[in-house]
């Protein structure tokens, strides 16, 4: 049976992991490769590396980092951040990434999804959507959640699928960082309307939130950052918890 996936997300700036990472007896948390390896050993199913560097030099560092990740880690990984055109995608895939994630660039230029799917296959193209519940509707935001758009979550996700996205990574801005659980209602609705896998993001704070996102939220995968980085929820323990509750996970 296909397993539900647990995906830690690492933010990278100038080649170094950002956000405080707090592991006892683990010294190299600043190195994305070492941290990725640790997560892989703990049972992570995939990894996501987001480049939050703005500078040109930093971008080059990130591409080199992607190659180091590919050489050292034996599970699939997605990279995102600052991807604006097909040539950016080409560089990252050549460097060894399995998938790429696009967000604002896709909303500004939806054809980018078609072009990536056509050139590299649908499975490569993860379309990330940041959305917030405003006045009874899920509104899509760009620029790291700073600028609202005209687009609504479900119709944009559906368009992305039709254009060739392989997966949707949906972050609820209302839930992100609050640690009170994922946006299960919106996720279930998304699942009902789409035929491609959905990765849930934003809101993980407790073991039970993962159970909820896979049952009530019907998500195919769940992504989180700080609860893994601060070791509040070790991935191996999380998987045992889910397995005991009949959620199919890879152990």
């Amino acid at each position: 049976m296909l397993a539900k996936r647990i995906i830690p997300c690492l933010d990278v700036k100038d080649g170094t992991t950002v956000k405080g990472v707090n592991f006892v007896n683990f010294k190299n948390a600043g190195d994305p490769v070492e941290l990725g390896k640790k997560y892989s050993q703990d049972g992570a199913d995939e990894l996501v590396f987001l480049d939050i560097t703005a500078s040109h030099e930093g971008r080059k560092t990130f591409v080199n980092l992607v190659t180091r990740i590919a050489k050292n880690i034996s599970i699939p990984f997605t990279v995102g951040g600052g991807i604006n055109d097909v040539s950016d995608v080409d560089k990252l895939l050549n460097a060894g990434a399995d998938k790429i994630s696009i967000n604002s660039a896709a909303l500004r230029n939806p054809n980018l999804i078609d072009n990536i799917a056509k050139n590299f296959g649908n499975q490569v193209c993860v379309t990330a959507i940041d959305a917030r519940y405003d006045n009874g509707e899920w509104i899509c935001y760009i620029n790291g959640g700073r600028i609202p758009t005209e687009r609504k979550l479900i119709e944009w996700a559906h368009e992305a699928q039709e254009r060739g996205a392989g997966e949707i990574l949906f972050t609820s801005m209302d839930h992100d960082g609050v640690k009170t659980g994922f946006a299960c209602e919106a996720l279930a609705l998304l699942n009902e309307k789409l035929s491609i896998p959905i990765i849930a993001s934003g809101g993980a704070g407790d073991y039970s939130h993962f159970y909820d996102v896979f049952t009530a939220g019907k998500a195919d995968a769940a992504l989180a950052a700080s609860i893994f980085h601060f070791n509040e929820i070790p991935i191996d323990n999380l998987k045992v918890y889910l397995n005991e509750r009949n959620i199919n996970v890879r152990i």
Binding site: L2, Q123, P197
Partner: protein, 203 residues
Amino acid sequence: MFLAKTVMKIAIIKYNAGNNFSVECALKRIGYEAIITDNPDIILNADRVIFPGVGEASSAMAYLKEHKLDLLIKSLTQPVLGICIGQQLLCSHSEEGNINCLGIFNAQVKRFASSIQDYKIPHMGWNTLNNIKPGFIPKEFENQYVYYVHSYYVPITEDTAATTDYIHPFSAALHKGNFFSTQFHPEKSGDIGETIIKRFIEQ
């Protein structure tokens, strides 16, 4: 016959549907160097040949034919490992682009039916190996997870070496003579995948 790591010649076939770098990295992690090439002499003289792939079947077949790699692959007598689209291209025919393939395995590649509730297409993520036959995939990997990304599958055939269940059982791996193949990506399947590649190399 087991050759020392330094003399083992491993060729990864270079074509337009390759994720060759990932396969090369996996080989390095288990201590082997490989050459990525479409040079017929190097491929013919290799001790092991890996035929990987991420892509679309009909354009991949067109490329192989154009570069005369189709006849070359069929003529290989050393152990050959097809991965993902590599496995599908080793079959007789694929629904993807309705194309005749290499015909090593007598099987018709089909597309997963997309209208079945609760089953997303592509089949993406970790799924279990079942019904492992002796010889290719280690028996102790029964019910262990490997990583998949695909929309087309090889049905169960007489050459099926292991199965996986998604919508229905399909061929996770095939084996016939010197030809071995996996639908999953051993190069992305953690320690289990690396062991499967290592066993193939060191057979």
